[in-house]
């Protein structure tokens, strides 16, 4: 490892995530969700009329849809009361749409991202960074070399102004309509911030670009929208990081992600999320993949009180490919309900899902997945593999895959295993001089390796470190 990587490893991850800042905002709506609130948000953002109309339509849909309550084993959402949420907080910054220099940010915000290690990562490994604090992007930068090729990476609010035609065409229209589910509707009504990525035909963005989302205030909701359009034969890797400190009151995160993968294009979307243990993380993420395109989802779901998140891919063109790699960790009081959905709607499409989960101290993990092979999607193949590791008897781990197969010329396989950490493995490592904690941590690191090896080294190190933290103090 280089010295930089050593340094990253030694950063005190716990201190990085758990600190909180005094709330300081320039503009903040009242609690709850009304038409008035929506109008105020839209006006504060100086949005075009069509966007306001979309928001208001989504609000109506939200009000009409029931909360999901009857899925087998789903997290309890009874505490999620929208009337108790502050949907929009604009932090006190001078440059709307994000500063281009960290030094232009108010000290406490800069300090936050310093502690999270974002500027350092940007210098070392990224081609661009967007940083969202509460409801707005506060920093946005894209290295010149990519900008020259026509790559756009900006915050979503700015995109509404500067790339209006593209946004109008793609924003919650063909991919994730507000009518998709209760929280997509909520998101459509009060979305704020997030990233807009546009990669022109044939352009490869060789280094990952990153957006980091930080919720700081108590009782707020964060609803960022990410729209990625990768034109034919382009390539981009987008990384999203999220965190929030813990308050006594719950927070709500309900983001929306829409990815368009053009013909022969390749998009990787990586997330390492570490929400505080009182955050409800209810996201909708979906990709549409054209002919011979490839979509890759890599997600680490750490933190949160409850997560309901099933990134979905629609394989629309022949020869399209989708890969999901996910890892979930649930400790005390946490319910992580996550999985993947794939719709094979064309011939010769291919998908793989690899899901790993760890539960401990009463945590609950659930893999909930759907593989749909439409009539006519011949020669499609899919393989789903789920492994769950359980540390103790207070924890719960469920696997609920659904497979809908309407085409005979297919190859469909699902496999799942659940087990405890192997006594023999621990004994083996102990007999080579490791103590019990180290032995178990090493086994866990091995267990999640298929995930970490897909991530840039900084993220892999962070994921490992987060898991070590989760396990500390309870393994003795």
């Amino acid at each position: 490892m280089s010295s930089e990587q050593d340094q990253l490893k030694e950063t005190d991850t716990e201190a990085r995530f758990e600190f909180k800042k005094e709330e300081k905002s320039a503009f903040k709506t009242g609690k709850g969700l009304t038409e008035e609130t929506i109008r105020v948000i839209s006006e504060d953002k100086d949005e075009p009329e069509w966007m306001l109309e979309r928001r208001l339509r989504a609000l109506k849909q939200f009000q009409q849809m029931p909360m999901p309550t009857d899925w087998p084993g789903q997290p309890d959402l009874s505490e999620v009361d929208i009337d108790e949420i502050v949907p929009y907080i604009r932090p006190d910054i001078e440059v709307r749409g994000g500063a281009e220099d960290w030094d232009d940010l108010p000290e406490e915000i800069r300090d936050t991202f310093d502690k999270l290690g974002i500027p350092e990562a940007e210098r070392n490994a990224l081609s661009g960074v967007g940083a969202q604090y509460e409801s707005e992007i506060v920093y946005q930068n894209m290295q010149e070399q990519w900008e020259e090729k026509g790559v756009v990476f900006c915050d979503m609010d700015k995109a509404v102004q500067e790339h209006e035609e593209l946004v109008k065409e793609y924003f919650m229209t063909k991919n994730v309509p507000a009518s998709d589910n209760k929280f997509a509707a909520l998101h459509g009504a009060i979305w704020s911030g997030g990233s807009f990525v546009y990669v022109p035909e044939g352009v490869t963005v060789e280094m990952p670009i990153q957006a980091y989302f930080r919720m700081n205030s108590e009782g707020m909701g964060q609803f960022e929208h990410t729209l990625i359009i990768a034109e034919d034969n382009s390539e981009v890797h987008y990384i999203e990081g999220c965190s929030a400190p813990k308050y006594s009151h719950f927070n709500l995160h309900s983001g929306g992600v829409e990815v368009f993968v053009g013909e022969g294009a390749h998009v990787q979307y990586s997330t390492v999320q570490n929400w505080s243990k009182n955050t409800y993380n209810l996201n909708t993420k979906r990709a549409i993949v054209e002919k011979d395109g490839t979509m890759e989802w890599v997600s680490g779901s750490m933190g949160s009180k409850a997560t309901m998140l099933y990134p979905a891919t629609i394989l629309k063109g022949p020869g399209a490919t989708d890969n999901h790699i996910t890892i979930a960790f649930a400790g005390e009081g946490q319910n992580i309900d996550t999985g993947a959905k794939v719709y094979h709607n064309a011939p010769n499409t291919k998908s793989t899902i690899e899901s790993k989960s760890i539960s401990k101290d009463g945590g609950r993990t659930n893999y909930r997945g759907l593989v749909h092979i439409a009539d006519g999607a011949e020669n499609s193949s899919t393989s789903v593999e789920c492994d769950a590791l359980m540390f103790d008897n207070e924890s719960t781990s469920d696997t609920m895959p659904y497979m809908e197969i309407q085409e005979s010329k297919v190859d469909v396989a699902h496999e799942a295993t659940v087990g405890k950490i192997g006594d023999e493995d621990v004994f083996y490592l102990q007999s080579r001089g490791l103590d019990d904690d180290d032995a178990k941590q090493m086994i866990v690191a091995g267990f999640i390796e298929p995930i970490t090896e897909e991530l840039p080294i900084e993220y892999a190190v962070e994921l490992n470190r987060l898991i070590e933290l989760e396990m500390e103090g309870s393994l003795g």
Binding site: A388, M390, D392, T399, I405, Q406, S408, V410, T417, V418
Partner: protein, 405 residues
Amino acid sequence: MSTGVHAAIDEATVRQLSEELGEPDWLLETRLDALAALSDLDFPDVIQTPGRKWTDLEDLDYESLVDPLNAAESKDQVGPEGVEVLSFSEAVEQHGDLLEERFGSVVDPKTNYLTALSTALFSTGTVVYVPEKVDAEDVKVRTTMNSRSLFNYTLVVAEESASVTLLERQDTGDAVDGSRYYSGVVEIVAGENAYVQYGSLQDLDQETYNYQIKEGRAGTYGQVDFIDCNVGSRLSKSTVETHLDGDSSETKIVGAFYGHDDQHFDIDARVWHRAENTTADLVTRGVIDDHARSVYEGVQDVGRDAWNTSSYQRENTLMLSDESEADASPKLIINNHDTEASHSATVGQVDAEDMFYMTSRAVPERRARNMLVEGFYVPVLEEIEVDELREDFESVVRTRLANRD
């Protein structure tokens, strides 16, 4: 919540059925209770994914299907010496106490709308009683349905250290105009160290709608095995469940189905691990052809106190036609970490390499395919201890394949 209970599904009907069977008051009360509960009960759970329900039971027109007072069947109940194989009315006379103790002890009549309907309206059935330490092989119950509807009830009790293998089969005889409805409730109790293998072959005609629920409870060191073969009916919902209540109890649930034309099979296999050192093995293999559709749900539920559980599940579907659909959802619910559990499911077509191998050895293509389909069932058929069941299933498969293009 259900609505629209048929006019003939009323108290007078229930009282008449009970009287004809010469039933004691407690059983009449149980029936009336079930009848009264109908309006509050839901239909059986079926799998739902966004935008669709995998099996639609609510929309069946029970009013035209159910005709409880005109039930007709021919039944053949045989068993070896030392074991009692009784018709339900005989059992009411001879084993009143046993019935009172066991009836509804495994399948709660109020499990759902259709179980309650069965309890209120059943008119025929079989009670198999195997006393302590008796080994009984090849008990056979053959039911031929000759009426619009038939409600059947089966109770198998194997006392401590007893063992029994049995086959129950259903088919249809005299034709009726329009559709029919067959409903079967099966309860199996395996005492300490007892062994029960219950095999069934459902071969009803394709005008018949079919609902069956088969549940077993296994005591300490007990074992309940199910073989659930489905080839007939227009639409079947078949639920097979084992409750591993005693330490070191075991179950094997073996399923086989073959759907063609526009048949619809909805098959559930569930196991509840509720004691220590229990083992479950679930294997289902099915073939689906023409416009047929199969829905499979497997559940392995490991309770908080089920230490040292082993639980395995496999489901494989072979699709022979592009118009068919195979849905599967094998579920694991694990609350105890001292568990080794796995499940897997596959869907595919006849293996191209196998076909190539056989055709390259001069086996004509059609014959090669038929042999491979027959061979596909071998791992599940091997588990069947009653020869008649295995042979009958194989012959149905062979005939269907022969009649195919």
